[in-house]
């Protein structure tokens, strides 16, 4: 299972990477915004996308829209992991096609729960 973690803060990417490692997903790549992430997604065979919303360059919501508009990527599971907490934004993200939405600050349990829900119970 190959993950792409997109967040403009390297510390947050590192935290998510560590958590994924602990959950039994050691194969994780990183990108710092949508613009960097999209070509990686198109080129590499990723199985799961975890993205932040508020990023310079291309924000996460635009990345999700681009992913859903790409035939090859349209079915990829996407988890939004963000500090954006306005109801209208959560609805906007749902309409853009996220499979899960976790708000920061978050816990390891919440991340595991959402991954399990999207992927089925983990190993």
């Amino acid at each position: 299972m190959k993950f792409l973690v997109v967040d403009d803060f390297s510390t947050m990417r590192r935290i998510i990477k560590n958590l994924l490692h602990d959950l039994g997903y050691p194969n994780v790549s990183e990108a710092d915004d949508g613009k960097t992430a999209l070509p990686m997604l198109q080129a590499g065979n990723f199985d799961f996308l975890i993205t932040d919303w508020n990023m310079p360059g291309m924000p996460g919501l635009d990345l999700i829209k681009a992913v859903r508009a790409d035939n090859k990527l349209a079915k990829m599971p996407v988890l939004m992991l963000t500090a954006e907490a306005k109801r209208e934004q959560i609805i906007e993200a749902a309409q853009a096609g996220v499979n899960g939405y976790v708000i920061k600050p978050f816990t390891a349990e919440t991340l595991k729960e959402k991954l399990d829900k999207i992927l089925g119970p983990s190993k």
Partner: protein, 254 residues
């Protein structure tokens, strides 16, 4: 009444007072009479001067606000930007330092736990095997079986002590790394003070200019995102936590 008769009525008394002052050589009365005549002759002039004085005062006030604003824009804003960049760098360093220490400690704790578990199993297996051993031969065999366990313990105990000491040191370093909160907090507070000053200077400028301050309403597109919700600042309907988000999404059929 003719227009000259009107003038006589209006100025007669003043001219008489002036003549009287000249005659009596009363300087104060003379100037007072002159002032009175000038006042009557130029009623608009004094209002005009008053207005000009007011304008001049406003202009001076405006100038002092504007030069303060220029100073803020030229020196203090770049300075504040540098300070905030420093805050980002400090939080970044502290977070990475903490993550380094956590990443370093995790495997140590794991190794101790794994080796302790192996020893527990070894001891349990030893008990099982030796419970059947009887007599002198049994004692010899049980001692033989015990020796590898002792060797494992001799290897495990110093390693466990060293690992635990390192983990303890790492935890102390994690504690120290949290000092960034104090330092960055102070920097952010100083920037807040500047923002406050800027706000009051701009408000004063708007007042002096007599401009109507209109509160621009930002477009409500959430394209690039708003950043973390700040209690008391973020407006609108904000989810209070993950439970709230989950409820909202399950309401949408997710």
């Amino acid at each position: 009444m003719s227009s000259f008769a009107l003038l006589k009525l209006e100025y007669g008394a003043c001219v008489e007072a002036l003549t009287e002052a000249l005659r009596t050589e009363d300087e104060a009365a003379f100037f007072s009479a002159i002032d009175h005549i000038v006042h009557m002759r130029e009623p608009g002039m004094f209002t005009e001067i008053r207005k000009l004085t007011g304008d001049l005062q406003k202009a001076l006030e405006r100038f002092s606000i504007e030069s303060r604003l220029a100073d803020i824009a030229e020196n203090e804003i770049p300075d504040a930007r540098a300070r905030l960049t420093h805050v980002i760098r400090m939080t970044d360093e502290a977070a990475h330092r903490t993550l380094d220490l956590v990443e370093q400690s995790g495997p140590l704790a794991e190794r101790t736990a794994r080796e302790a578990a192996a020893l527990i199993e070894g001891v349990a297996a030893y008990r099982n095997r030796t419970s059947e051993m009887k007599g002198f031969e049994g004692v010899v065999r049980s001692i033989d079986a015990f020796l590898p366990l002792v060797r494992s313990m001799e290897a495990f105990l110093p390693a466990a002590r060293a690992d635990s000491e390192l983990i303890r040191r790492n935890l102390a370093d994690v504690l120290m790394a949290q000092g960034y909160q104090d330092l960055t907090g102070q920097i952010i507070r100083s920037v807040m003070k500047l923002v406050e000053e800027l706000e009051s200077a701009l408000t004063n400028l708007a007042k002096v200019s007599g401009d109507v301050v209109e509160h621009a309403t930002m477009g409500e597109s959430s394209g690039p995102g708003h950043g973390p919700a700040v209690p008391g600042v973020t407006k609108g309907d904000v989810a209070s936590g993950q439970t709230d988000v989950d409820a909202l999404l399950s309401g949408l059929g997710m």
